[in-house]
């Protein structure tokens, strides 16, 4: 096997060392920095883009939070306004009810007074008519004059009696 020809070892080893050192220097100084540069530039770009996206996202979230806060505030204001309006309406209705009730009570009282007056008047007239009637009826029956004072007394007694019974 040519692999075991010892005289070939030295030249192969010499050129291997030379070529490998050349490769090492070319890789370390030229090729690897180039590839590393390309990869780093890309990674940097991707990281930048991600940062920017994260920033935009946080901005959007701030806007959403502000919007929601404004919405909640508007809703609260509306609720307060509605409650206020309800209270005012209730108060106005109560006030109006009270006024009407008062007016009605006053009218009722006036009507009762008028009825009382009419009733007293009617009763007074009734006493007069009853007295005259009773005097005329008594004179016809007795055929004699009856004293007006007596008749009045008797009518009053009868009215009193009647009122007590009814």
């Amino acid at each position: 096997m040519p692999q075991f020809w010892m005289e070939d070892f030295a030249p192969q080893m010499v050129w291997l060392v030379i070529s490998f050192i050349a490769l090492y220097l070319l890789m370390a100084r030229v090729a690897l920095p180039r590839v590393a540069d390309v990869l780093e530039t890309r990674h940097g770009r991707i990281a930048d883009d991600l940062d920017q996206a994260a920033q935009l996202k946080s901005q959007a979230e701030t806007v959403i939070a502000e919007y929601e806060a404004a919405l909640a505030k508007a809703r609260g204001d509306a609720q307060a306004t509605i409650a206020q309006a309800g209270l005012e309406a209730t108060a106005a209705a109560d006030k109006r009810n009270a006024e009407i009730a008062e007016a009605l009570a006053a009218e009722a009282a006036a009507a009762a007074a008028r009825i009382d007056a009419a009733k007293t008047e009617a009763l007074a007239e009734l006493r007069g008519v009853a007295t005259e009637l009773a005097q005329a009826a008594a004179e016809r029956l007795l055929g004699a004059e009856v004293a007006a004072g007596d008749v009045e007394q008797a009518v009053d007694a009868a009215i009193q009696d009647n009122a007590g019974r009814s």
């Binding site: 096997m1 040519p2 692999q3 075991f4 020809w5 005289e7 070939d8 070892f9 030295a10 030249p11 192969q12 080893m13 010499v14 050129w15 291997l16 060392v17 070529s19 490998f20 050349a22 490769l23 090492y24 070319l26 890789m27 370390a28 030229v30 090729a31 690897l32 180039r34 590839v35 590393a36 540069d37 390309v38 990869l39 530039t41 890309r42 770009r45």
Partner: protein, 249 residues
């Protein structure tokens, strides 16, 4: 020193002759340039040109070839990160060069009429010994005498240590042997097999179609082995570096 060894051109072993192109000497050292040396420089040039040309556009969205270069880079970077951790970063150029050199030599050897540098034990033992010397040097400079504790596994009874420590020492010094023979034997066996079946194609006439079909399949397998053995050599290097840096068993 001239070499008058001869090997038949039809022999499956003829492909492993290093093919001296001159007879240079330097102070008694034989530095003859050969086909083997030419293919070593070929691997250096192909690897460098590939990485430089594919990244020339420095595209933000990589094209097909630039992706290969980036994949190649990140493959080794991830391998070091997973086996050694962040301390392995400074050995990245060395490990990357080692992988690139072996994979390029293996793949160039797959071309017809070419020569496979890594099919020679002289080459693989030099690479393996470099790794061995480097890792031992790192282990001693980082840990001093503490490095010797690497040969004393924890939790072993004292009596057993008389048996275990010599085995540990022996296995440590066997590392460059297994490391280099694995690559050399794989490349030699694969290429010999291809040549042997190639001979059958000629000898069997019409029925040579059968070994020819086999060669097509084996060539695909050999390409896979070329990459796989480069990977194995590199990951073992990473594991040895990890041992030297972290002194873990």
């Amino acid at each position: 020193m001239s070499v008058d060894r001869h090997i038949e051109h039809s022999s499956p072993m003829h492909q492993f002759v290093i093919g001296r192109l001159n007879d240079w000497q330097l102070g008694g050292l034989d530095i003859s340039f050969s086909k083997a040396a030419a293919f070593m420089f070929g691997a250096v040039i192909v690897a460098t040109l590939f990485l430089v040309l594919t990244t020339s556009r420095r595209a933000m969205v990589p094209g097909r070839w630039q992706s290969v270069a980036e994949l190649w880079y990140e493959f080794i970077a991830d391998m070091i990160k997973e086996t050694i951790g962040s301390e392995g970063r400074k050995y990245f150029p060395f490990v990357f060069s080692l992988f690139s050199f072996i994979v390029m030599c293996n793949l160039l050897g797959m071309l017809p009429y070419s020569y496979t540098v890594t099919s020679h034990i002289a080459v693989t033992i030099t690479l393996a010994l470099s790794v061995f010397v480097l890792t031992t040097f790192i282990g001693i400079t980082r840990h001093g005498t503490q490095f010797l504790s690497f040969f004393v596994p924890k939790g072993v009874p004292l009596v057993m240590l008389f048996l275990v420590v010599p085995i540990e020492v022996l296995s440590y010094f066997m590392r460059p042997i297994s490391h280099s023979v694995r690559l050399f034997a794989n490349m030699t066996a694969g290429h010999t097999m291809l040549k042997v079946f190639g001979g059958f194609v000629v000898q069997m006439g019409v029925f040579g179609v059968l070994p020819f079909a086999l060669i097509v399949a084996l060539t695909g397998l050999e390409v896979a082995i070329a990459v796989l053995q480069a990977y194995v050599f590199t990951i073992l290097t990473c594991l040895y570096l990890n041992d030297a840096i972290h002194l873990e068993h």
